[in-house]
């Protein structure tokens, strides 16, 4: 078939760099994977059971386009109680098919052809592609390990043009685990107000914040009106496969997104919505338990990486460590590929998430304690062998 059948936009975007790694790792036996971007918990039984009940009761029809009102009401309560943000269940929320669809809706609702979105990188692989698909232009802003891969207003200013429409924030961040503090968000908020920009904030990992309470940019004074909040049940509630997310935004933006949603998706799957309602009603204790478990594993894993010489800032959120591998002299891809082939540990090369991720790897510590400890000793062996090889020529000389 001729390639010219394809839209130019689709041809212009690249398939996700993670895919290549997945294909390689999937062919091997005995691989310990630190490459998984999802919780290692199975969804809590009460949540699964609620979904099964909905099927037994024959609740299999379409729901309202925006999602079950009862779910939106629970969600509204939850957002207020948990993060002090007040969204009307009737006018400001849409239940979506994962956070990814919510992102897609946000970009499509606000972007005209050529509008620019400033995206600090390294970042989740979908932002740029979705911006492009919506006709916009992703403008990547590089960030550095020295500043925990966070952007501030001065950084953002360097990318500001008359075409800038929005800033994308992801906190806690995939892949770096960094979390913006209230003060840092206030600085960015001030910048957004000054230049009349929207903020799209991806808060899918908000429940998994460990050291200080999470602040949403939507909770900062006067910011709700220019913020599109994206989140979902995947990470905090361990519900990735259910594909259930949501978007919260002021009515004008929300109505625009709802138009797209009703024509392209109709509504999120009903059985997942009933599950989510149960998760919000009776699942927060489980969230707390999982969070504690991640925090312990983070302390162990990040502490050990630093001891191995793979320096890493303490990630305050999500379940990723993003250590530097620069001391090995390898590129991220080389490191990840050699580690996989020689020690069967799968990590994701940092450059997949943007050029600033080069020299780093993403390791998910959402893995059993045994696996984490085994992978650490394999990484240690890998590093020692590399060191021996590197030092060998020096001895000859």
């Amino acid at each position: 078939m001729k390639k010219s059948y394809l839209s130019e936009t689709v041809q212009s975007i690249q398939p996700s760099g993670i895919r290549k790694f997945f294909d390689l790792a999937a062919t091997m036996e005995g691989v310990i994977s630190l490459g998984v971007g999802e919780p290692d918990f199975v969804t809590a039984w009460n949540v699964r059971e609620a979904s099964i009940m909905s099927l037994e009761q024959g609740l299999t029809s379409y729901t309202a386009n925006a999602g079950l009102l009862s779910l939106r009401k629970e969600l509204s309560n939850y957002l207020y109680k948990r993060f002090y943000i007040d969204y009307s269940p009737e006018e400001e929320l849409i239940i979506t098919v994962g956070g990814s669809q919510a992102l897609d809706l946000a970009f499509r609702a606000i972007l005209n052809s050529g509008d620019e979105v400033i995206i600090p990188e390294p970042c989740f692989v979908a932002y740029g592609a979705l911006t492009t698909l919506a006709g916009g232009v992703p403008v990547y802003l590089s960030t550095s390990a020295e500043k925990d891969f966070k952007a501030d207003s001065a950084d953002l200013r360097t990318k500001l043009t008359p075409k800038t429409k929005a800033i994308l924030l992801c906190s806690p961040s995939n892949p770096t685990g960094s979390v913006y503090s209230k003060e840092e968000l206030e600085d960015i908020a001030q910048f957004a107000k000054e230049h009349d920009l929207l903020i799209i904030t991806d808060e899918i990992y908000a429940e998994l914040t460990y050291d200080e309470a999470f602040t949403s940019v939507a909770a900062i004074q006067d910011m709700k009106e220019r913020t599109i909040l994206i989140s979902g049940f995947s990470k905090g509630f361990a519900m990735t496969g259910w594909r259930l997310g949501y978007v919260a935004a002021p009515p004008v933006l929300r109505d625009a997104m709802l138009k797209i949603h009703q024509y392209s998706m109709m509504c999120a799957p009903s059985m997942a919505q009933y599950a989510a309602e149960e998760a919000l009603k009776n699942g927060l204790e489980d969230v707390e338990k999982m969070k504690k478990s991640y925090r312990r594993r983070r302390n162990l894993f990040v502490g050990s990486l630093n001891e191995l010489g793979l320096t890493c800032h303490q990630p305050n959120g999500a379940f990723y460590a993003f250590p530097s591998i620069k001391t090995t002299g390898m590129t991220s891809e080389q490191f990840a590929e050699e580690l996989l082939l020689s020690e069967k540990v799968a990590v994701v090369p940092g450059n997949v998430f943007g050029p600033s991720g080069e020299g780093h790897i993403r390791c998910s510590y959402a893995s059993s304690l045994d696996h984490l400890q085994e992978s650490l000793s394999r990484i240690q062996r890998f590093l020692q062998e590399r060191q021996v090889k590197e030092e060998a020529p020096a001895i000859i000389k």
Binding site: I18, A25, A26, S33, R296, N299
Partner: protein, 166 residues
């Protein structure tokens, strides 16, 4: 007894895996190994940590399958010592695994492990029923253990996630 956050943290780590080594425990809780060691010592001294035991599925071991029964025991409490004296007389028997004082229609719940049903029958008829304070006993044999102390006995809990995902 009021415990500090770190003490509770260490208890929870041990509760999940009593074999975790000191270094791992210390790192997970964010304390030095010396601190972790001191905390564990203190908790052991105060009998907050009673013991470190292993959960074994003996059914899988030939010759060790055994039988477990839960016995509801009605007793007459004694003035001055209440149920404690009779409870002690019961828990001193080696074959008794646990004894609980219960609310409801009977008083003591006794869990006992023996090699066979007749072992347990002998214990109940010869040792337990003959105690002065014991009014009646009802013996329930455990047929199958599905979940014990929060652990499911037969599970396929292998990782079902795809190897690499965004």
């Amino acid at each position: 007894m009021k415990l500090t956050e770190k003490e509770t943290e260490i208890l929870e780590i041990l509760d999940e895996n009593s074999r975790a080594d000191l270094n791992t425990i210390a790192k997970m809780a964010g304390v030095t190994t010396e601190e972790a060691e001191a905390i564990i010592q203190k908790l052991e001294d105060q009998k907050v940590i009673i013991d470190y035991s292993t959960m074994i599925d003996w059914r899988k071991v030939d010759g060790h399958e055994g039988v477990t029964a839960m016995i509801d025991v009605k007793v007459t409490p004694k003035r001055g010592v209440g149920f404690d004296e009779i409870a002690e007389r019961i828990y001193r028997f080696q074959e008794v695994e646990s004894v609980y004082l219960m609310s409801g229609v009977y008083d003591l719940s006794v869990v006992i492990r023996g090699r066979s049903m007749s072992d347990i029958a002998r214990f109940v008829s010869e040792k337990l029923s003959t105690l002065d304070s014991v009014v009646s006993t009802t013996t329930h044999f455990i047929l199958k253990r599905y979940k014990h102390d929060g652990k499911v006995f037969e599970t396929g809990d292998d990782d079902k996630r795809i190897v690499v995902s965004p």
